[in-house]
C-alpha cells in the first residue's frame, strides 16, 4: 500500500453503483482509492434478491421451472435447461435424442445471444461505441428464432421436465443454418473492430489478471477460468445431453487478462456455431418427451447437476422428500461465485479499469442476487 499522502487525503472511499451504467445492473462496489488507484474493494449485492430458492419450496417441480428464467435473464434457456436436467436426473428419466439435440441447438443459440450482449456492452463500457449496435442486431435474430419456437424472446421457459413442450416449427433448421451462415462473417467484423485495435488492446491487455491458481481457489468457472489458461468445460469433461457426440474445441487464454477473456469468448461463439450446425443435422424425427408422468413426484433423494452456462458452471442441487414439492432447491450461480474474484482482480488498477473488469466477468445481477 503506497504511503504517500497528499493534503491528508491519501485514501478515499467512493461508491460505484448501485445506479451506475457500467455495473450491468444494481451492483454496488465500495472502492478504497489512492488517487485513481484501487487499494481495495467490497461488493454490496442483494438489491435484486427475490428469494428464488424459497419460492421453489412452495411450488411443484414443474411450476418452479419458469422462475429459473428470471435469474440469468439474458440466458434463460440455459437456466431452464440446468433445472430440468437436474430433476430428470432425480427421476432417472432419459430424454429422447430429438429433444436433446433441440435443447443443444437452443442452448448454443442462447450462449451466442449472451456472448453478443456481453461483447456489445463490454466494448461500450470501454468506449467502443460501434460494436453494441452490431451485436444487438445479431442477437435480435436469435431472439426471433426463440419467439418463433416458443412465443417468448427472453424468459422463454423453452423446456419441460422430460423433454420439450413444443416440437420444432417448420423451418427452424433452416433458420438456424441461415443464422450461422450470417453470423460467422459478423464475428470477423467484430474482430476487425477490436482485436487489433490499439485502444482496445491498451484498455484490456494486462488488466484484471487472474492467475490459474487464483481462479481455482476462488471457484471461478466458465470463460473466466478458461481465459486463465485452464481447459475446462463441463460440456467436455462431464457431458450432458448429447455434447459427447458433437465435435468442438475448448478455447483457452494464456495470461488470464481481460484481452484473453475477450478472445476466449469470441472463439466460443465460433464453436457454438459449429455445435449448432452438427446438432441441426442430427435432428431426426422422433418423440420429444421422455417417460414422465403428468405429476412429477421424484423419489426421496438429492442430486447435484451442473451445466456449462454462458457465464460458467450453473449447478442445481435439488433435494426431494418424495412429495410433489421440492424440499430444497439450491442454485449455484456462476455470476455470484465469479464476482467474488473481482476484488483481487482490480487491486492496483485504475478506477476506469474496474469497469473493464466488471464487464469481463460477465455477471448478471439477477443471477448474483437470485
Amino acid at each position: 500500500m503506497p504511503e504517500t499522502t497528499y493534503l491528508d487525503a491519501s485514501e478515499l472511499m467512493i461508491n460505484m453503483g448501485p445506479q451506475h451504467p457500467a455495473t450491468h445492473g444494481v451492483l454496488r462496489v465500495k472502492l478504497k482509492l489512492d488517487g485513481e488507484r484501487v487499494l481495495g474493494s467490497e461488493c454490496v449485492i442483494g438489491y435484486l434478491h427475490r428469494g428464488v430458492e424459497k419460492i421453489a419450496e412452495n411450488r411443484t417441480y414443474a411450476q418452479f421451472a419458469p422462475y429459473t428464467d428470471r435469474m440469468d435473464y439474458v440466458a434463460a434457456v440455459t437456466n431452464g435447461m440446468g433445472y430440468v436436467e437436474a430433476v430428470e436426473k432425480l427421476l432417472a428419466v432419459e430424454v429422447p435424442p430429438r429433444a436433446q439435440y433441440t435443447r443443444m441447438v437452443l442452448a448454443e443459440l442462447q450462449r451466442l445471444a449472451s456472448h453478443l450482449l456481453w461483447l456489445g456492452t463490454h466494448a461500450l463500457d470501454l468506449g467502443a461505441m460501434t460494436p453494441v449496435f452490431y451485436t444487438f442486431r445479431e442477437r435480435e435474430e436469435i431472439l426471433k428464432i426463440f419467439e418463433k419456437y416458443c412465443g417468448a424472446r427472453l424468459t422463454t421457459h423453452a423446456f419441460r421436465i422430460g423433454g420439450l413442450q413444443y416440437d420444432l416449427y417448420d423451418g427452424l433448421e433452416q433458420d438456424c443454418l441461415k443464422f450461422c451462415e450470417y453470423l460467422l462473417p459478423k464475428i470477423d467484423e467484430y474482430e476487425q473492430l477490436l482485436t487489433k485495435n490499439r485502444i482496445w488492446i491498451n484498455r484490456t491487455r494486462g488488466v484484471g489478471v487472474l492467475s490459474a491458481a487464483d481462479a481455482i481457489a476462488y471457484g471461478v468457472t466458465g470463460p473466466v477460468l478458461r481465459g486463465s489458461g485452464i481447459k475446462w468445460d463441463i460440456r467436455k469433461v462431464q457431458p450432458y445431453e448429447a455434447y459427447d457426440k458433437v465435435e468442438f474445441d475448448v478455447p483457452t487464454g494464456e495470461h488470464g487478462d481481460t484481452y484473453d477473456r475477450y478472445i476466449v469468448r469470441i472463439q466460443e461463439m465460433r464453436q457454438s456455431v459449429r455445435i449448432i450446425r452438427q446438432c441441426v443435422e442430427r435432428l431426426a424425427p422422433g418423440p420429444i418427451f421422455g417417460k414422465v408422468g403428468k405429476v412429477i413426484k421424484p423419489p426421496a433423494g438429492e442430486v447435484y447437476h451442473s451445466i456449462e452456462a454462458p457465464k460458467g458452471e450453473l449447478g442445481y442441487f435439488v433435494v426431494s422428500d418424495g412429495t410433489v414439492n421440492p424440499y430444497r432447491v439450491r442454485v449455484r450461480p456462476p455470476s455470484f461465485v465469479n464476482l467474488q474474484a473481482l476484488d483481487i482482480m482490480i487491486r492496483g488498477h485504475l478506477v476506469a479499469d474496474v469497469v473493464a473488469v466488471i464487464g469481463t466477468l460477465d455477471i448478471v445481477l439477477g443471477e448474483v442476487d437470485r
Binding site: E53, Q238, V292, G293, I296, V303, F317, F336, V337, D369
Partner: protein
C-alpha cells in the same frame, strides 16, 4: 443409469400419479376432484402397473378432500418410494484412504445417481478438507458450492453441504456435516477461499455461524434483517406484522 435404479422410479411415477394430481388440483380449487383420476390414467406412459397402483388407489380417494388430508399424505406415501431408490453404499480407494487417515470421522458414505456423498463428523471437518484438497486426498481443489438444508425436526437440524470437484480425477464429491442451530462450524475459507461468500450466504439464509470466517455478515439481505428466510420455520407473515407495527404503529391487516 443402472437398470435396477431406473425401473422402480418409473413404477412410482406411473402408479402414484392418481394421488398427487388430485392433491395439486384440489389445492388449486379449479377442477372438481372427481374428474382427476381420468387425466393421469390416460396420459401416463405406462398405465397398467399392478404392483404400484394397488397401494396408490386407497390413498387417491382420501386427498380429494382438501386441507385436512394433506399432512397425512406424505407419511403414507413415504415408505413406497423410499424402498426402491435407497442410495447404495459407496466403496472407493479414496474412501478407504479417508477412513484410514480419519478413523471414525466418516459417518456415512453413499452413492445416489452416481454421485458419492459422505457425511463427516464436525470435529474432523477442517483436517479432512485439507486432506481432500491435497494430492493424496484426490486434489479436490475446486469448491463449486457450499449450502445448507434445514430439517427442523432433527436434533442437528442443518445439513451443511459442500460440493467438491477434482480436476485430476474429473470427479465430484459431496461432503456433508450435520450441525445444530446455534452450534458453530469451522469455516473452510482457509482451504478454499471461494467459501467466503458462500458461507456468508448460508449464514444469511440459515443463521449458521462459522468460526474463523474473515468477514461473516449478511450478503444478500440487508444487515438489519431479522431471521433467516430459508429456515423451514421462517414466518413471513409474522415478520410483516411486526414490521407494520413498529414502523407504522398499526395492526397489520394480513
Amino acid at each position: 443409469m443402472a437398470d435396477e435404479e431406473k425401473s422402480p422410479p418409473k413404477a412410482d411415477n406411473g402408479g402414484e400419479t392418481a394421488k398427487p394430481v388430485s392433491k395439486a388440483e384440489a389445492s388449486l380449487a379449479s377442477n372438481p376432484p372427481s374428474g382427476t383420476p381420468g387425466i393421469p390414467a390416460g396420459s401416463t406412459p405406462e398405465p397398467a402397473k399392478p404392483a404400484a397402483t394397488a397401494p396408490a388407489k386407497p390413498a387417491a380417494t382420501a386427498p380429494a378432500k382438501p386441507a385436512g388430508a394433506a399432512p397425512a399424505k406424505p407419511a403414507a406415501a413415504a415408505p413406497a418410494p423410499k424402498a426402491p431408490v435407497k442410495p447404495d453404499p459407496w466403496t472407493s480407494p479414496l474412501l478407504d484412504a479417508l477412513q484410514k487417515a480419519f478413523p471414525g470421522a466418516i459417518q456415512e458414505a453413499v452413492v445416489f445417481r452416481k454421485m458419492p456423498s459422505i457425511t463427516v463428523a464436525k470435529e474432523s471437518l477442517l483436517a479432512l478438507c485439507h486432506f481432500l484438497r491435497s494430492e493424496e486426498g484426490g486434489a479436490y481443489t475446486l469448491l463449486t458450492d457450499e449450502t445448507a438444508v434445514d430439517y427442523p425436526k432433527r436434533e442437528k437440524r442443518f445439513d451443511i453441504v459442500y460440493h467438491l470437484y477434482s480436476f485430476e480425477r474429473n470427479d465430484r464429491l459431496r461432503l456433508k456435516v450435520l450441525v445444530a442451530a446455534a452450534e458453530p462450524l469451522p469455516s473452510v475459507t482457509e482451504v478454499w477461499p471461494a467459501a467466503n461468500w458462500l458461507e456468508r450466504e448460508v449464514y444469511d439464509m440459515f443463521g449458521v455461524v462459522y468460526e474463523g470466517h474473515p468477514d461473516l455478515k449478511r450478503i444478500l439481505l440487508p444487515d438489519e434483517w431479522i431471521g433467516h428466510p430459508l429456515r423451514k420455520d421462517y414466518d413471513i407473515l409474522r415478520q410483516d406484522a411486526a414490521w407494520v407495527k413498529s414502523n407504522l404503529g398499526i395492526e397489520s391487516g394480513q
